[in-house]
């Protein structure tokens, strides 16, 4: 049975029998009209790999150079720039806000001439695949609400994550794996950095089957995947056949279609017991591929290993693949810490994009790289020749995109000399999310779910398409 007929059958079942509580009408929202395509219009991307950099990478040390700041080194941030905007409690008590120019060298790369810091030598080499948005901005000033906002369109808990919306809207494109997979890694730049929360991949008020499945870095990659000790595959198969026979028998007695749905779920579980180990077993990857992702690729739970897994998930048509790499929150000792983070991410990110491209997958895979907000030009704590820290800065930050439907080799938006305010083409988090949905064939205003008397959507009542980044 192909995946599309599976989905179709699923829809028919749902329509015939609206079980699953009042909330779960139709597992694929857009498909409830049984239209030939489950999307609003032809999608550019079939899937997305979202490389979330948790903790907030410093834009002016990576992708938004401000060489003119060297002249102002140590000077207090002018009031004309700060404009009375709020600061976190970590620096609001500082007597001065000394401008801290980036220690790192920048150069232009590729035909598009993108400015990239020396910290990202491998990303630099694929500059022409990328579209930088330097004019991102957000509303929250602390990590928890800010990352929740990126993921769910709300600073507070309770809304579905972007991956859950896509699972709900588009359904799964494969029959053996979840539609939404999450991979996490700790950074080496700051080992004890901002945590992550299950809410970031939660389905919120959407039915639970749309929650992200977080692959684990220890033990079973998927919870409870392994059979108990002493039970082999043959025995499990026999046991499931027996269970299925009994359930089918009960179905004849009770007539409840939910019973046959359960039988199907057990079959999917059995298939996952084979498909997940097959997915995570990278032992047959050729050496040159492993080398491309760097030495950490062999250590489970590293960003590099997760990038390779992301490619393998993409090959298997998982709809939404999300990496979270922690460790970017550099309030102090930034120069050292950011080196660690870039060491973790630069090579594997570039390798992933090249690997996808080489396999023809970049044409229908959207890549997004970014964090929850930016960082301040002024130093948190003492500024020295070789050391500075940067506080949270929601007014501007940089993300980059690549792959399906993205205007390659471009830089969009501008910030002022102090990398403090946006001077051109601001892009709100809602705008980015609207654009991501658009590239997947979804009108963000029309992917809605009725809850507590209201039709909710990822972008709340906001969001406009950023046409400038779409090819």
């Amino acid at each position: 049975m192909t995946s599309s007929t599976l989905q179709l059958q699923d829809r028919l079942n749902r329509r015939a029998f609206l079980k699953h509580s009042g909330l779960a009408l139709g597992s694929t929202a857009l498909a409830s009209q049984l239209a030939a395509s489950p999307t609003h219009f032809a999608p550019k991307a079939k899937r997305i790999i979202y490389l979330f950099q948790s903790g907030a990478p410093s834009q002016m040390d990576l992708f938004d150079p401000k060489p003119q700041m060297e002249k102002h080194r140590g000077e207090d941030l002018p009031a004309s720039i700060r404009l009375g905007q709020r600061l976190t409690g970590m620096t609001s008590g500082q007597k001065t806000f000394p401008v801290a120019p980036s220690m790192f060298k920048f150069a232009q790369h590729g035909q598009g001439g993108a400015w990239i810091s020396e910290l990202m030598p491998n990303i630099s080499k694929i500059a022409d695949e990328l579209c930088f948005i330097r004019s991102m901005h957000t509303e929250a000033i602390n990590h928890d609400p800010a990352i929740t906002f990126c993921q769910t369109g709300s600073q507070l808990a309770g809304r579905p994550s972007i991956g859950s919306w896509l699972s709900y809207g588009l359904g799964s494109a494969n029959r053996d794996l979840p539609a939404y997979v999450v991979l996490t890694s700790f950074g080496t730049g700051r080992r004890e950095d901002q945590p992550l929360y299950v809410r970031l991949w939660s389905s919120g008020f959407l039915p639970t089957q749309h929650q992200g499945v977080k692959f684990r870095n220890v033990g079973d990659p998927v919870l409870y995947l392994s059979d108990p000790a002493g039970v082999d595959r043959g025995m499990r198969r026999g046991m499931l056949d027996e269970l299925s026979a009994l359930n089918q028998h009960d179905h004849q007695l009770f007539g409840d279609p939910e019973i046959t749905a359960r039988v199907a779920q057990y079959e999917m579980a059995f298939r996952m017991q084979a498909s997940v180990p097959d997915l995570t077993d990278t032992s047959k990857e050729p050496q040159h591929v492993l080398d491309a992702y760097g030495p950490e690729v062999k250590t489970p739970g590293t960003y590099a290993a997760n990038c390779l897994l992301a490619r393998r998930l993409a090959e298997r048509d998982v709809r939404f693949i999300q990496l979270f790499h922690m460790g970017w929150d550099h309030h102090g000792g930034l120069p050292n810490a950011i080196k660690g983070q870039c060491h973790d991410t630069d090579q594997p990110t570039a390798a992933l994009i090249k690997d996808l491209k080489q396999r023809g997958l970049l044409d229908d895979t959207l890549i997004v790289w970014g964090g929850e907000f930016g960082r301040t030009i002024y130093s948190q704590g003492t500024l020295t020749e070789t050391n500075y820290g940067r506080d949270h800065h929601p007014r501007c930050f940089t993300v980059f995109m690549a792959g399906a439907g993205v205007k390659k080799g471009t830089t969009y938006g501008e910030t002022d000399d102090y990398c403090y305010n946006i001077t051109r083409d601001p892009v709100h988090v809602h705008d980015l999310n609207a654009t991501i949905l658009h590239l997947l064939g979804i009108n963000h205003e029309r992917l809605t779910f009725p809850f507590q008397g209201r039709d909710y959507r990822l972008t709340d009542i906001h969001g406009s398409l950023v046409k400038g980044v779409i090819a």
């Binding site: 004890e192 299950v198 939660s202 000792g333 003492t382 507590q452």
Partner: protein
């Protein structure tokens, strides 16, 4: 996409085209969903001045002269014209809204206008009344009358086994025992079923079952949520909830105590504990947060939670603007806000509670009777010891006189100060992977370079020739350190876990020295310096380096003064092994050789003063000098008085410790002065506009007579008989629990967007009866489960599926999957592993490795270790709940994360649930324990055992087909395990409890798989 309401309107339940229109049933949901957004209560959003939620406005001519509704004349009504037009520009609703009207909806609107366009107030905002149809009324008369209208018959009563399983799971969350099923099947008395129901309602597990849902409403958890997500202790409140349900506390009282128990006259401890309901919300402690922002968030959470829980209204919409659908304004939202705005809690969690766990003020200490008694006895003991100390003190003058000559000699000889040690080597034990320690001009050492998780500083120095009685550690702030503070962790803190002292004589081995006592001029709560003496505490000395940056001193007094031959080395080892990266940043070490009793952290200041007094002849000393001398003597010199004092202090400390160990719970506490409340523009804390005071939404009745205008008044208003919502909300949810769906399906929302109830008269009747009974919760449960409607069998026919797919009319019994908690509780109960203890602190059952640690290195809820023994087998509602990494199996089974109020769970069916039931340790262990029961209790033949097991798990007898399938499976696996006894041994040793060694391993393993089949059956995890 097709909306929920569209489906409902076209469903067979409401399609009675020939009937006269009922506004609330046929028109309001349609107008509300498709028109009110632009033509409803929200003035700011209103287009063309047209308002359709009020008849008067809808009948007025617009500026253009057109009239939206002309009653009786659809042809002249602009509303109808706009709905039917083919002109895209004029069409309503505009196509960009994505909510087109269907032909059927258009026809309904037309019919409604033709029939006179009658409006009704929203049904849920009008107080429920007794039905007008002649009685007597019962659930069954309503249900059968409606079924008859549809040409349907009720189903026959379910068999007794099914019935007792259904009622047991619904009322206690636990399956019936085999004996209970047998007894019920054999009971010939006419009220056999009623006896079962009464027994279940009296079971102490009834309270647990009822509380489970309430924990979702109350967003109960054992952690604070947000970034650090450290632990809190709110379980005494959870115990209160269980107890209240078991005592059948009337729902009005249950409500009043939770919302405002603290404001009741002479509030009891229990009534104060009840107010923990509104402290169960998350509390943020992230570094750099702005306190007021989060205080406001918490209060908004309380308003929203109250709205969802008691009123089923989405008040949250009005945080930023007037409600789009319900007649509730933003101002009214902030009037409700101001009821909750006067409590003394700060809104954020800081200090050690944020990192190490703990409750945030205001809290109240909870103690049971036995503990209270024990504490009283300890207090008496202390009083007696103090009495003895007072007696001993009579000899004070004499003892001082005896001590003086020797003291003068000692103190004269004592050196004056702490002297910095002159080390030969100061390095990290980790060499180049550890800190670089460089000497500063003031004799201190500053750490730089790598900051490993657990550094140890080695400090080697020649032993000073006067010897050493104690070491002083000074920790100093430095601009190069994180946060310009004292420690190397990113927030500037450190945790010193060990301070080891060795001496090494020339040619000898290092010999560890024992510390007699320690003291510090400052310790962080929970990280006192004394922790260093208790290696097992897993903690150490910390100094709140994230917020306080002053120099700190700690003194380590040796048990034995050190005197040793020349060239002896003193080796100091500073270890940091509590929390990663918390290493000291800059420090100086000094030693002293003075008698230990004279040593002070601040050097010899006091000592010098005492010496000066001693040198004055006794008679010439002033009163103040005498007092100082006495104070010094009492504090430092061994004597009968000091020993008596020490004894009393030790007893006092034991009492204080016991009191500190008592659980406390966060509660509501009103400040004497009201805090101003404002409408917040866009709901943002820093954009206050107009000042508001406490008040209620105008669409609902006013405060009941005599109720005060405060939280207590609000609570009384919620449960006043005139409030149209609360009773309906509660009976509707009770209905949902027993029948799968509410009478109004949108149990979370009874506002304008709510479904029109499938049986409005029944809903009203139940609500009126509930209030008339004095809000008697057990009576309500009994009424529902005693109904014939509840007792029907749940067999589905294709005709019924076609006619009523969701079983809203209840021509058959309800059949749905058990909640996640119950799936696990049932497996534990059936296997005999369940520890049915009620209440108490949360427990830690099995959890896969890394669930807490893969995403966080913050807070104290890390490094999960499951309990051993009974904690593994308690009911699931007692499992420790960390909000940012909630119990994973529960999340798979549709549980919310408890980060905010959730009044409805989805009910899904997924492969991940299948994996959990097949493979999670609890379920495998339960299968093994169940298999053991089957073998030991089920007779000797496989057939008998299979029948016994089936009966145990499902309460019913297997038919011939089921027996055949199960037997074939058993035989197959018996053969497999006999061929592979190692596999059998592995399987049956899953989990902590041990298999009965007298059983054959292969046989037990084969039955374990059969038990697993039984526990995974659809009918087992379904209550049918």
């Amino acid at each position: 996409m097709r909306s929920l309401l569209f489906l409902l309107i076209t469903s067979p339940l409401t399609s009675r085209a020939a009937e006269k229109i009922v506004f609330n049933r046929d028109i309001r949901p349609l107008l509300s969903d498709k028109c009110f957004h632009c033509h409803g209560p929200d003035e700011k959003e209103r287009k063309s001045g047209l308002r359709l939620d009020q008849r008067d406005s809808a009948l007025k001519p617009a500026k253009s002269g057109a009239v939206a509704i002309v009653p009786g004349t659809p042809d002249q009504s602009e509303l109808i014209a706009r709905c039917f037009t083919s002109d895209e520009d004029d069409l309503m609703p505009p196509s960009k809204m994505g909510k087109p009207l269907t032909d059927r909806e258009k026809a309904l609107l037309k019919q409604w206008v033709a029939e006179g366009a009658e409006y009704q107030g929203h049904w849920a905002f009008i107080a429920p009344v007794k039905p007008t149809t002649p009685g007597p009324h019962s659930i069954d008369t309503f249900i059968t009358a409606r079924l008859a209208k549809e040409g349907l018959q009720p189903s026959p009563e379910a068999d007794r086994a099914t019935l007792i399983r259904r009622a047991s799971l619904d009322l206690t969350g636990l399956p019936p025992t085999a004996a209970e099923v047998d007894a019920f099947e054999k009971d010939p008395s006419p009220n056999a079923y009623e006896k079962v129901v009464d027994r279940l309602l009296q079971s102490p597990h009834y309270g647990e079952r009822m509380a489970m849902q309430w924990l979702d409403f109350a967003r109960y958890a054992d952690s604070h949520g947000f970034q650090t997500d450290s632990s809190r202790s709110m379980w005494p409140w959870r115990d209160w909830v269980i107890r209240s349900f078991n005592e059948n506390k009337p729902f009005d009282q249950f409500t009043i105590e939770q919302i405002a128990g603290d404001l009741l006259p002479n509030a009891t401890l229990d009534q104060k504990v009840a107010t923990g309901f509104n402290r169960n919300h998350r509390i943020n402690g992230e570094g750099g947060i702005i306190g007021e922002e989060w205080r406001i968030e918490n209060i908004i959470d309380r308003v929203e939670t109250t709205g969802f829980t008691w009123l089923a209204l989405s008040l949250n919409c009005c945080r930023c603007h007037d409600h789009k659908f319900d007649p509730i304004s933003q101002k009214e939202f902030y009037q409700l806000f101001s009821f909750f705005n006067n409590t003394s809690d700060r809104g954020t969690i800081t200090g050690s509670s944020n990192r190490a766990g703990g409750n945030e003020d205001p809290v109240i200490t909870v103690s049971d009777q036995a503990t209270t008694l024990k504490l009283a006895t300890m207090q008496k003991d202390i009083d007696a010891a103090k009495q003895q100390a007072a007696v001993a003190r009579k000899d004070l003058v004499k003892l001082i006189a005896e001590w003086e000559p020797q003291a003068l000699k000692n103190l004269v000889q004592a050196p004056n100060a702490w002297t910095p040690l002159q080390p030969t080597q100061v390095v990290s034990k980790l060499a180049d992977k550890g800190a670089i320690l460089s000497l500063q001009s003031d004799g201190s050492y500053l750490a730089s370079g790598p900051n490993p998780a657990n550094d140890t500083y080695l400090f080697d120095s020649p032993l000073p020739k006067d010897g050493v009685t104690a070491i002083l550690l000074e920790c100093l702030p430095d601009p190069s350190l994180p946060n310009q503070s004292l420690g190397r962790y990113s927030n500037g803190n450190f945790v010193l876990t060990d301070f080891d002292v060795f001496i090494q004589e020339p040619g000898g081995n290092p010999v560890k020295q024992t510390l007699a006592r320690v003291a510090a001029d400052y310790s962080q709560k929970g990280y006192e310096i004394e922790k260093i003496l208790k290696r097992s505490s897993g903690k150490g000395w910390a100094i709140d380096g994230n917020s306080k940056k002053d120099p700190r001193r700690a003194m380590f007094v040796l048990q034995k003064p050190l005197q040793a031959p020349e060239n002896t080395q003193i080796l100091l080892r500073l270890r940091h092994e509590a929390i990663g990266g918390h290493n000291i940043g800059r420090f100086r070490l000094s030693s002293a050789s003075a008698p230990p009793e004279t040593l002070k952290l601040d050097g010899d200041m006091q000592l010098a003063a005492v010496k000066a007094i001693l040198e004055i002849p006794t008679a010439k000393r002033s009163a103040k000098q005498k007092a100082e001398l006495e104070k010094f003597f009492l504090a430092n010199v061994d004597s009968a008085i000091k020993r008596a004092n020490d004894l009393a202090s030790a007893k006092q400390k034991a009492l204080d410790d016991a009191k500190n160990k008592l659980p406390n719970v966060m509660v509501m506490e009103e400040m004497p002065q009201l805090r101003d409340a404002f409408i917040l523009s866009r709901g943002e804390y820093d954009k206050p506009t107009i000042k508001v005071s406490m008040g209620l939404p105008a669409v609902l009745p006013p405060l009941p007579k005599g109720a005060p205008l405060n939280r207590l008044g609000l609570a009384k208003w919620l449960v006043s008989p005139s409030n149209p919502l609360t009773a309906r909300v509660w009976v509707n949810r009770a209905w949902e629990k027993f029948f799968g769906y509410g009478l109004c399906k949108t149990t979370e929302n009874l506002g304008s967007q709510a479904e029109y109830p499938v049986q409005p008269e029944l809903l009203d009747w139940l609500a009126v009866e509930f209030m008339r009974s004095g809000w008697d919760m057990k009576a309500l449960q009994k009424q529902l489960v005693m109904s014939q409607t509840y007792r029907q069998q749940s067999k589905v026919t294709p005709e019924l599926v076609a006619k009523d797919p969701e079983n809203r009319l209840l021509a058959r019994g309800p059949r749905f999957r058990l909640a996640g908690e119950l799936v696990r509780d049932q497996a534990l109960a059936l296997s005999g592993l369940l520890v049915p203890k009620i209440g108490g602190d949360s427990v830690r059952p099995y959890m896969p490795e890394g669930v807490w640690d893969e995403t966080s290195k913050y807070g104290n809820l890390r490094g999960y270790k499951n309990d051993t023994g009974e904690g593994l087998y308690r009911r699931t509602m007692y499992t420790i709940w960390k909000r940012t990494a909630a119990p994973p199996t529960m999340l798979l089974f549709d549980s919310p994360s408890r980060e905010l109020c959730t009044v409805k769970r989805s009910r899904t069916n997924t492969p991940l649930q299948a994996l959990a039931l097949l493979n999670e340790v609890t379920f495998v262990e339960a299968a093994r324990a169940l298999a053991q029961r089957i073998i030991q209790e089920g007779g000797s033949s496989p057939e008998a055992r299979i029948a016994y097991g089936y009966r145990l798990v499902t309460a019913r007898q297997p038919d011939a087909d089921a027996k055949r399938i199960l037997l074939a499976g058993l035989n197959q696996r018996l053969a497999e395990f006999k061929a592979s006894p190692d596999s059998a041994t592995k399987l049956i040793n899953t989990g902590e409890s041990k298999p009965d060694p007298s059983l054959n391993a292969s046989e037990l393993a084969a039955y374990t798989m059969t038990a697993s089949v039984l526990l995974n059956l659809d009918r087992t995890i379904t209550r049918d």
